[in-house]
């Protein structure tokens, strides 16, 4: 047995955009155990239900995270709408779907950029984020915001997109798709990239189920599950396959996210083709009374929203089970036995969002 050392990793580390701390137990250069600590950006957002009414709380919950902010707002609204037993207009469902897929696009491009930066490909990082900027521009044009959008409302959405804007977006996505395809070739074909990702961070199918992996982390271990298949928003009207990989390693996770980018382009095109005319919001009166669970597929995987209401304007409980929280257990598993030098990349391959995790 080699010499054992405990190396503190984070909360401040060049590869971590957000703070998480790991105590890494090393035996020479191998990680034997990783013990995470979180809470550096814990804001107690879930406790603010006692200070904000259920309509205002929407603006709190979408500030859970700067990347999935749209989906946090939408998941919460869907849970409250379920308690009210309100069906939102079809056009609102399609608009939510389009914004969801735009969120997935910019999240996956952000992740690809961070990955490129982590293995030292700075130009690739800039290229990925240049693409992402275009999507943020589209968010700004359609919602007025680049990070926090505030377009969801209990009962629908607050802003519409006219057909000229939607067609303009599709044309932009068409040209972007060719550029992204060129970029992603580097991730999938480059020798150096493969050498850092292939056969690193193995998570078998059984381990992924056992440890509660979700999203691309789970699908890269060969599990064919995608919450969008539940048919919420307009997903029930759109054709898409579930993207999986049997690689079970970091390369597989990268491949799944890349293919999901192209899938999002396709879903947006389909949604724009099929979006019906009509209202974008229905009036919702009174206060919610009851409880509801809602599942949504965020870019990082399945998120679960739970809302419990008591008939007053203040809720009893609002909870988000975020994908990163449940992907921490698989992360601890893939870190066991890895080389110390691979730790930053392995943390990145779960696409961690610590703000989401801590809320």
């Amino acid at each position: 047995m080699g010499k054992r050392t405990i190396v503190p990793f984070g909360p401040q580390h060049p590869v971590l955009p957000e703070p998480i701390h790991l105590d890494l137990v090393l035996e020479d250069e191998k990680v034997i155990e990783a013990i995470p600590s979180i809470g550096f950006v814990h804001r107690g957002l879930e406790s603010l239900i006692s200070k904000r009414d259920f309509n205002d709380y929407l603006y709190v919950i979408e500030r859970t995270c700067g990347i999935c902010s749209f989906m946090h707002g939408m998941g919460y609204c869907e849970a409250v709408e379920r308690i009210f037993d309100v069906e939102i207009p079809d056009r609102a469902k399609y608009l939510r779907t389009i914004w969801c897929e735009m969120s997935r696009l910019h999240s996956h491009l952000l992740w690809l950029g961070l990955l490129a930066d982590a293995f030292g490909f700075e130009a690739l990082f800039y290229q990925c984020w240049r693409m992402r900027e275009k999507i943020l521009d589209m968010f700004e044009a359609s919602t007025g915001g680049r990070v926090i959008f505030s377009v969801n409302k209990v009962g629908g959405v607050l802003k519409d997109m006219d057909s000229a804007m939607l067609k303009g977006f599709v044309a932009e996505f068409d040209s972007m798709e060719a550029d992204v395809r060129k970029l992603t070739k580097v991730f999938l074909k480059d020798y150096t990239v493969k050498s850092r990702l292939k056969d690193v961070g193995i998570l078998t199918k059984e381990e992924a189920i056992q440890l509660g992996a979700v999203g691309p982390m789970m699908r890269a271990s060969g599990i064919e599950l995608d919450t969008r298949r539940l048919g919420y928003c307009a997903y029930g009207d759109l054709d898409f396959d579930i993207i999986t990989s049997n690689d079970c390693d970091s390369f597989g996770r990268c491949k799944v996210r890349i293919e999901e980018i192209f899938q999002s382009f396709s879903l947006i095109r389909q949604a724009v083709d099929k979006i019906p005319e009509g209202n974008i919001v229905v009036p919702v009166k009174g206060n919610p009374d009851g409880e509801a669970f809602v599942r949504v597929e965020q870019p990082r995987g399945e998120a679960i929203y739970y809302v419990k209401a008591n008939g007053t304007k203040f809720l009893d409980r609002a909870r988000v089970r975020t994908p990163t929280f449940t992907n921490l257990s698989p992360l601890i598993k893939i870190l066991q036995g890895c080389d110390y030098a691979d730790v930053p990349l392995l943390i990145l391959t779960i696409d961690p969002c610590i703000s989401c995790t801590e809320r």
Binding site: G212, L225, G236, F293, I304, R321, E358
Partner: protein
């Protein structure tokens, strides 16, 4: 299309048996959620079998101690540590017990009823 799910109330003594059954049936543990009530806690253990979503509800007082299901589902440890640190739920037998160090926060059980 709105997802349909089950919500089944169980006694806290039946939790381990329920978790074992779910595990044997190949279900994933997707979340454990705690709600503080006047009397104590309402815990929801959510499992997914494929796309089926099944929730088991335990209603208990604040002094009741439950047994960890981390022997069946290792991923339960994080949820259980969260419930223990933020809500003050008493849990025995956690495979991985952070002893109030998962969340690096000063407040003790900030989400416990009455806090």
């Amino acid at each position: 299309m709105r997802e349909q799910y089950e919500l089944i109330v169980i006694r806290h003594e039946d939790l381990l048996e329920t978790a074992k059954t779910m595990k044997d049936e190949g279900a994933r543990l997707v979340q454990i959620c705690s709600v503080s009530t006047k009397e104590g806690f309402e815990l929801s253990y959510s499992f997914a079998k494929g796309y089926d979503f099944i929730n088991y509800r335990i209603v208990m007082d604040a002094d009741t101690q439950i047994t960890s299901i981390s022997d069946f589902y290792p991923s339960a440890s994080l949820y259980e540590n969260e419930m223990s640190e933020l809500f003050g739920v008493k849990i025995e037998g956690m495979q991985l017990d952070y002893r109030d160090q998962l969340y690096m926060i000063d407040a003790e059980t900030p989400f416990k009823g009455g806090n």
